[in-house]
């Protein structure tokens, strides 16, 4: 029998991990944890037992990239993140829904759309997070927030389940797969190529899990979440904040950030 709360908690962990990796350059602390023996063992355990072939293959690629990474690769990964997500060159990968849904380089067409979803869950893009509401990291954190809310609600928050399904179906899946394809094409490191595949495959199975309960998917997600616990990721909201604000959020950004690269 399905452990409803456990499944949604697992989904929350997974979305948290994906959101963190896509929202900024990897911190040294996270990089060391990712390369740490405990996490690699956990991930290896998951990969060797995962019953879903494509999920297993995608996460195996991420595992391989991490196993091959040396201490010096932290700087290279930061460079690559900045290169593909910040630099306006030919290799740029826009992590914003608007770019894919409107086919324009950088517009705010999807910002109003995502804000409607955020408002329904009584959250908004955190003003402290200096980027747009339709950044993939915010949307993945929204999925995480909803999963967490569903897991914590005594009645299973059916209205939040419905909202999450609608957000996934009507918005997130309308652009995230293409983003993954572009990221895979333009990334040069094994890590970001693997991340593109991991996001796509995880979204695919999460959608399928919502549509048809399947023991193998639930088992895989539970094992994956268990592997991710070794990272001891912060459970605080980062890109989102609770409550409603007039207008749904400031229409600023993304503003240039001061960055120093090694």
């Amino acid at each position: 029998m399905t452990d409803f709360k456990k499944m949604h908690r697992a989904r929350s962990y997974i979305y948290n991990f994906l959101s963190i990796l896509i929202r900024d350059e990897i911190s040294r602390e996270l990089f060391e944890k990712l390369r740490g023996e405990v996490f690699l063992q956990n991930l290896n355990h998951f990969v060797s037992r995962c019953p879903l072939a494509d999920l297993k293959a995608a996460w195996r690629k991420l595992l391989s990239a991490l196993e091959e990474a040396g201490p010096q690769d932290w700087g290279a990964l930061r460079w690559e993140y900045a290169h593909i997500f910040y630099n306006a060159g030919v290799k740029t990968v826009f992590p914003y829904a608007s770019c894919y849904l409107t086919r324009q380089p950088l517009v705010r067409g999807a910002v109003a759309e995502v804000r409607k979803f955020y408002r329904q869950a009584r959250v908004h893009k955190s003003l402290a997070y200096d980027d747009l509401d339709d950044h993939l990291a915010v949307e993945l954190e929204f999925m995480r927030y909803l999963s967490n809310t569903i897991a914590a609600a005594p009645d299973g928050a059916p209205e939040m389940v419905q909202l999450q399904n609608k957000f996934r179906r009507d918005h997130l899946m309308g652009w995230a797969p293409e983003f993954c394809a572009v990221l895979d094409k333009r990334a040069t490191s094994g890590f970001y190529k693997a991340l593109a595949e991991v996001i796509l495959v995880t979204l695919f199975h999460d959608r399928a899990l919502a549509m048809e309960q399947q023991a193998s998917r639930e088992e895989a997600f539970a094992m994956l979440a268990q592997a991710l616990t070794a990272l001891d990721l912060s459970q605080d909201l980062f890109t989102l904040a609770k409550g409603l604000i007039p207008g749904g959020g400031a229409l600023g950004g993304p503003r240039p950030r001061k960055r120093q690269h090694p």
């Binding site: 293409e178 394809a181 399928a208």
Partner: protein
């Protein structure tokens, strides 16, 4: 994909919606390069399919309107 490639050759303005049974990045990239407007994954959701068709039809109508306005 071969069929889509051939259809696009016959009609470069063809609008298409691809349905994928698996989350394969190479297939996804191929579909995008062939100009697929929308991508759906299985299991199919009838509401999602309807929404995608509506979106593509709207885009066709908009393009036709723009083309007629230019004449």
């Amino acid at each position: 994909m071969e069929l889509l490639e051939e259809l696009r050759r016959l009609n470069p303005d063809l609008r298409s919606i691809a349905v994928s049974q698996s989350p394969s990045l190479p297939r996804l990239r191929q579909a995008i390069s062939l100009g697929v407007q929308e991508i759906l994954f299985t299991p199919l959701d009838p509401e999602e399919l309807e929404a995608k068709i509506t979106k593509v039809v709207k885009a066709v109508k908009r393009d036709l309107k723009e083309a007629l306005a230019l004449q």
